[in-house]
């Protein structure tokens, strides 16, 4: 193992890490929005939306992410929808995480005691006021541990986008290995960077969980 190889390849790897972060960050935000509305549509049983949301969750969770990426990047151009690699990656990742998040949200909303909704309604609140002010703040706290799981998986899944030529961390590692023939060093380096990224995000979410739970102290 040669230290100079690490030093030489680090700038490229870190630059590619930015692409990984970018993919993950944009996808997480879109996934949160998709997941939230899919969960609400299923809970409120809005007639048509409920069916769409249920089908969406079932299809996404029932097929491999790699297949979804291929369908979006290689398949869609056949019907005239051509997305560049990065957009394809973002679409696939956010649709995928959105499905899992919607299940987390749904479970966490249903986990709030029914008495909370009754108390809100009995005061004369509308259903949406009760949801917004009373139910959702409580379900967020319940959701955080499972959210953090989905976030971790999403950050790791960005590596799958390397197969459609997005130069993120894993793709860059492979490119460097092609020149240096040092697979062990470079892949371990990539692994270390993933680990640091994920540790960073989970620490933030753990802090958030503690902060949103402060009212539970006795």
């Amino acid at each position: 193992m040669d230290v100079t190889i690490i030093i030489d390849s680090l700038p490229s790897l870190l630059k590619a890490t930015l692409m990984t972060i970018l993919l993950a960050a944009i996808s997480i935000i879109i996934a949160l929005v998709i997941g939230f509305f899919a969960a609400i549509a299923r809970i409120l049983k809005v007639r048509i939306l409920h069916g769409i949301a249920t089908a969406y969750v079932s299809i996404i969770r029932g097929t491999p992410l790699l297949v979804q990426i291929f369908v979006i990047y290689y398949g869609l151009p056949q019907i005239g929808i051509s997305l560049d690699p990065i957009s394809s990656g973002v679409v696939a990742l956010s649709l995928n995480a959105g499905a899992y998040l919607s299940e987390s949200f749904r479970a966490s909303i249903l986990a709030v005691d029914n008495g909370q909704m009754e108390a809100s309604l009995s005061m004369g609140m509308t259903y949406s006021q009760a949801l917004r002010r009373i139910i959702l703040p409580q379900s967020l706290r319940i959701a955080i541990p499972t959210l953090s799981n989905t976030f971790i998986v999403l950050i790791k899944d960005t590596s799958l986008v390397s197969v459609i030529t997005v130069t993120e961390l894993l793709q860059m590692s492979s490119l460097i290995i092609a020149k240096t023939f040092e697979p062990l060093t470079i892949y371990l380096l990539a692994a270390a960077i993933y680990w640091m990224l994920i540790t960073f995000f989970t620490t933030i979410l753990d802090k958030l969980e503690v902060r949103t739970s402060k009212y539970l102290v006795r």
């Binding site: 009995s122 005061m123 609140m125």
Partner: protein
């Protein structure tokens, strides 16, 4: 004029008819205690008055406000039900305080959201109500930091904050340790003395004797008999009432 008028109230869950045509008139400042064995429909009756259960049939009037049951769940009807709820305070057996809000925030929530009261005004009102139920020094505590009796008193203050025409209590002390029951009943007694109209579902006999202007005995979805607490407890006319009292006492 009566403040609550219920005509032919019926409620079925599937094929099981829980309320079989209840007629009830309650005067202003009257304190009514409803008793009866479990499954008699007393809690369901109370919940129907607040539309936490949608009655199958009947008419409910509270104050000037009347809702005919069994209508379509359209926007107009939802507004009607909400208006009715604003006029009634409901106190639950399990308190149902909002755990992510402090005691004072729990009490402020209604005025702010329902009445559009300004934050500072709501705070003054909430502080006064918490003081009234003996919790002026617990304003900034979260429900998890309060005892059951204290939580139930906060819940009463929260209902009072909307200035209801009538207070409904669904077994308010059944979830409490025996030594905490008294402090909650004392608050209800104080309200009775101030002339608040109240309907209370409870098993607390001595409390009923003390505050009730009228005791209603229910069984199997009907009102079996009603009268002053003396009439019901000392000289019950119906066999079913006698049976129930002999078990409870």
């Amino acid at each position: 004029m009566s403040i609550i008028q219920v005509n032919n109230l019926r409620k079925s869950f599937g094929t099981n008819e829980v309320l079989k045509g209840i007629d009830l008139t309650i005067a202003k400042s009257e304190v009514v205690v409803i008793m009866g064995p479990s499954g008699s429909g007393k809690s369901t009756l109370l919940r129907c008055l607040n539309f936490l259960e949608e009655p199958t049939e009947g008419v409910i009037r509270i104050g000037e406000f009347q809702v005919v049951t069994g209508g379509k769940a359209n926007r107009k009807r939802k507004t009607e039900i909400r208006e009715l709820r604003k006029r009634t305070g409901f106190v639950f057996q399990s308190f149902n305080l909002f755990p992510h809000k402090t005691a004072i925030e729990n009490v402020m929530e209604g005025p702010i959201i329902i009445h559009g009261t300004k934050l500072e005004e709501a705070r003054i009102l909430a502080k006064a109500l918490l003081t009234k139920v003996g919790l002026g020094d617990r304003c900034d505590y979260y429900p998890a930091q309060l005892s059951g009796g204290q939580q139930q008193r906060v819940a009463i203050a929260r209902s009072l904050a909307l200035n209801p025409m009538v207070m409904l209590y669904d077994e308010p002390t059944s979830a409490l340790d025996p030594e905490l029951v008294k402090e909650v009943l004392q608050v209800i007694k104080d309200l009775a003395r101030e002339g608040m109209t109240m309907i209370i579902v409870t098993h607390e006999m001595s409390f009923a004797k003390e505050v009730a202007d009228r005791v209603i005995f229910m069984d199997k979805g009907v009102i079996v008999e009603q009268g002053t607490s003396e009439e019901i407890f000392l000289k019950p006319k119906e066999e079913r009432t006698r049976q129930f009292l002999s078990i409870v006492e």
